[in-house]
Symmetry: C2
Subunit: 596 residues, 2 copies
């Protein structure tokens, strides 16, 4: 009779053998694999911290209790009062923001106690669609980090761009059927939700059909607009920035994810929500974290640490980074330390300084003293064809970047980057065309921005001007360009713009700084033009070199490549450039650079 069960033994859950072993070990019929003695156990079910023993059976926790003895396990570790906490779950993040492959990301955060992330593969979805997301699933299969996926819900962002792929209802349906897919990712297009757009609303119902979660993204939505958005059935949000906004959402039934990204940092403002009364409704997320923040601060562990340092009950802080997210996403046997749960745990010698000594994943020690250690968890090597050689440029010459205009004075509209924000502003600016063209002009702090379609489709080239980037010479280019990820290049002359684009084509994507016909620095991002398989320390060094090179060309903007990568995002105000041209975001339409 048991043979009929085989098809039901899931990858995501345990098999009968592991389950039976746990029961046999707990019952004393078999020896456990490991006994962790004298752990100061952080119990996220009852918010208590007290000394206890934890007996493991392979991947599972067999038992927790004071009555288990050394003779009952093959191996014994006496923690001598060190803390034992559940491994952390990052409830919403974009792997691509780290510029790292799943394996490289795992190496960066697992030693910090992060055992799982729920990622929205939004960027790779825009470049490579369903195949790209399936590559990401394959590339993260069997890591020491559980990589769960929510299906990106807004690919492409609008019709005013050429993306590499689109995810319609049937693609979302296909992906929702996969075991490691937990829901529909942040439904960012809140205007369409509130407007009652049927295709957008249907994404919520699709998630419900699979008993999975429809995730939200409701920046600054309050009052009636928030109610309209929630009326669709969306159940979470990670965009609250003030306590009042967080509390309003919580009262409205929303699972409030508190975000501490690289740019958007909301933990301090929302900290008072982390109290016993609201405890079950709060989760921690990072959304977007850049390599240097991952290295200097950490991933979702940074939120737990910061909350503890601010005086939050440590067990409650851990709960927001573990159990609550597991429950929200309906994850089985995850998020706490209890019999039957996966043995995903971390040992800390110091809570206040969040000093992680070692990390266990599915019962195996996978990290110690800040480093991954050799385990049976191996770096997956999926076929990367679908995400390789993704930078397919049209044949280009410097002539393609020439901005023609009749000689004389003109009024143009230019993009103003806002320092430290994703927003841009629109400004009208007087220029003079000479030789039938308008050129970049260092003395006016005016750079040329070009967007080149790179998915091998129409080969569009669009041009505009940016004021305030600070460049005096050369060019920067990026194949990371939210959300369509065409090539964005900013520069002071067409030859360097061309070289920058060509160099990116040669590297299969990445970031590059060129000047006077020479490549000054580069970071290859050959996977979909978005990420690299190299480790975080190498990537960070490259980023540092790139930023230094960009500064040497005169720019004084913080994180110039991040700023550049957002100049094409046509869903955030106010003026953007896609491969189809200049976009007036408020008007949701293409506009001319030349006003007169």
């Amino acid at each position: 009779m048991l043979r009929s069960l085989n098809p039901h033994q899931l990858k995501g859950s345990v098999n009968l053998k592991a389950q039976k072993l746990a029961v046999d070990v707990a019952s004393g019929r078999q020896k456990g694999s490991l006994l962790l003695k004298h752990a100061n156990l952080i119990n996220v079910f009852s918010q208590e911290i007290s000394l206890n023993h934890v007996l493991l059976a392979g991947p599972l926790i067999a038992a927790v209790g004071e009555d288990y003895h050394a003779a009952e396990a093959e191996e014994v570790i006496d923690l001598e009062g060190q803390y034992l906490a559940p491994g952390l779950i990052d409830g919403h993040m974009h792997l691509e923001s780290s510029l790292l492959s799943p394996a490289a990301y795992a190496a960066a955060v697992v030693p910090r106690g992060v055992v799982a992330v729920v990622c929205d593969p939004h960027e790779i979805g825009n470049v490579a669609g369903v195949a790209g997301i399936k590559w990401l699933l394959a590339a993260s299969e069997g890591l020491a980090l559980d990589v769960w996926v929510t299906v990106s819900s807004c690919v492409p962002a609008t019709a005013l761009e050429t993306s590499g792929a689109s995810l319609g209802l049937s693609e979302i349906d296909e992906l929702l059927g996969l075991e490691r897919v937990l829901g529909v990712a942040e439904i960012m297009d809140f205007p369409s939700v509130i407007a009652g757009d049927e295709e957008t609303l249907a994404k919520v119902l699709l998630a419900e059909h699979y008993r999975k979660t429809p995730e939200g993204h409701a920046p600054s939505l309050t009052g009636k607009a928030l109610q309209s958005y929630l009326a669709a059935g969306i159940i979470s949000d990670h965009e609250a920035t003030t306590l009042a906004e967080g509390l309003e959402k919580l009262r409205a039934g929303v699972f409030v994810m508190i975000r501490e990204g690289s740019v958007t940092r909301n933990l301090a403002a929302l900290m008072p929500l982390i109290c016993p009364e609201y405890a079950a409704s709060i989760g921690f997320v990072t959304d977007d974290r850049l390599p240097h923040d991952l290295m200097d601060e950490g991933g979702v562990d940074f939120l737990v640490k910061t909350a503890i340092q601010a005086g939050i009950d440590p067990a409650l802080a851990f709960r927001c980074g573990s159990l609550n997210l597991a429950k929200h996403f309906k994850l089985i046997r995850r998020g706490g330390i209890a019999a039957g749960y996966f043995a995903d745990m971390m040992v800390l010698s110091d809570l206040k300084n969040f000093k992680v000594e070692s990390v266990f994943k599915h019962g195996q020690k996978v990290a110690e003293a800040g480093k991954l250690i050799e385990t049976s968890f191996v770096k997956p090597q999926p076929d990367a064809t679908v995400v390789s050689r993704s930078v397919k440029l049209p044949a280009l010459s410097a002539q393609d970047f020439r901005f023609s205009a009749s000689d004389g004075d003109h009024l143009i509209q230019v993009i103003i980057p806002v320092t430290g924000q994703v927003l841009t502003e629109r400004q009208e600016f007087k220029v003079r065309a000479q030789g039938s063209e308008i050129k970049a002009n260092a003395s006016a702090n005016l750079a040329k921005l070009v967007c080149v379609e790179r998915h091998g489709k129409k080969g569009h080239v669009a041009k505009a001007f940016v004021k305030g980037f600070g460049l005096k010479a050369g060019a920067l280019a990026s194949s990371v360009a939210h959300d369509h990820h065409n090539i964005l290049a900013i520069g002071m002359n067409d030859d360097d713009l061309l070289l920058a684009c060509q160099e990116l084509a040669r590297l299969d994507g990445g970031w590059v700084v060129v000047s006077e016909g020479k490549v000054l620095a580069s970071l290859p991002l050959p996977i979909a033009g978005l990420i690299t398989d190299r480790n975080i320390a190498e990537v960070r060094l490259d980023v540092d070199r790139l930023e230094a090179a960009a500064q040497s060309l005169g720019t004084d903007i913080d994180a110039p490549f991040m700023t550049l990568s957002f100049l094409g995002l046509e869903v955030i105000p106010e003026l953007r450039l896609t491969d189809l041209g200049l976009v007036d975001v408020f008007g949701n339409r293409l506009v001319d650079v030349l006003i007169s």
Copy 2:
């Protein structure tokens, strides 16, 4: 593109039309169906009670907020500060214990604010198997009460009985695939779990496969035994009777269901668990409630009321009877009052006395002033063939009940019912056989108990003796006989025992009292021999008449039919009678009545 979504529109969730209507109403593009103004809203997300307005759109709540006005709805009810609370969910119960059909049960509890039950159709499963459970699903489809099902996990209870049906892994698999099935019901066979029995363990994995819940039943399990049981992956329990037991289970990650049944009453002992720190881990359940308790006290509403009267924060008490259970069972859009949720709510004029004025189900008023009202919710009329004429007795004569023994003194083992409990005790007792038989004997308070197989299978007849039932004449018989539900009859002479059995066959099951060849009272239970379609008031009157008739025959036991119905339950100590014979529960084997 939307056409491809149709197959995904679930019965259990909303369709696109209802969803869009809610968004349109919240956004002001359409009028709502109803505005409930000045509600003292019981917010189970934030545990707050404050004045607010709630705008409905058909079955859904479109919006909650102070800014909605009468002009925005077709109908307006000013609640003038009356309380508005989420409708209640009973997290674990057996419909059959009420002796009522789903429709009759709904009529009894919906006016009290109960909008959903999670039932374990254990009894009908034993009688009619998968077909019986499917009948129950059909018979509860579309009621004003949501009837969710967990698949009974221990049918039959043991091999020492003849049940009408069995539910193996493939039957459980089949039922788990159904939309209204939420999990595997209380895994009562904890010895098999702890022993690592693979077939029992596999039931947990099957539930996980469907992303549904494996429910527990761990009476008095603590320490290592509890850890062994939980190591299997079981996530809930409703058997804790002391605060220490409840707290130990909660700390072990268990969702602790507090039960207040007709016989087993644990709320008072577990009340201290209902505090903000543990709030998310507690749910309310009734398990088994008899008609008179349902009428006098209520269903799961009785727990909320009792908790409030004991001084528990009312919002927290409501949360244990609504949101927490919805989350535990992964129910979508249920358990609270918020935009996007189903409009399942109750209006109360008085919290302390729990005075329910009206109840809304999916936006419709379904009850008012304690009575169901006419709605579009209609009593379902499924084909009842599979649960009809279920009492199939062998050809019987009084001779079949004769207990033969050689003339002279004998030592027999007899069953002792324990007043007010499900337990029985075993006692050895001296008797004298005359005319080659041992008879019931009123002066020794010794009655004869017979069990007749009634599923039309082997036609077994087994006989034993019960001491202390108090009968002086006549006989009682019941087709409700846990868990196999064969006929159990207890009486003082074989002719009355025969008549009682024959009358049950004529009624298609039920309860009956006979004496001196006459039927004194009866309650027909023609659906599977377990329940009736009649209303609760009629059933209660019949039960009162039956108990009076039983008392007239000399018995002084409380609830004699309930006591009788448990005399055949061979999984609870100590001595029982099934159709296969006398069962020594501790020995898990058949034994002889005659010791010498």
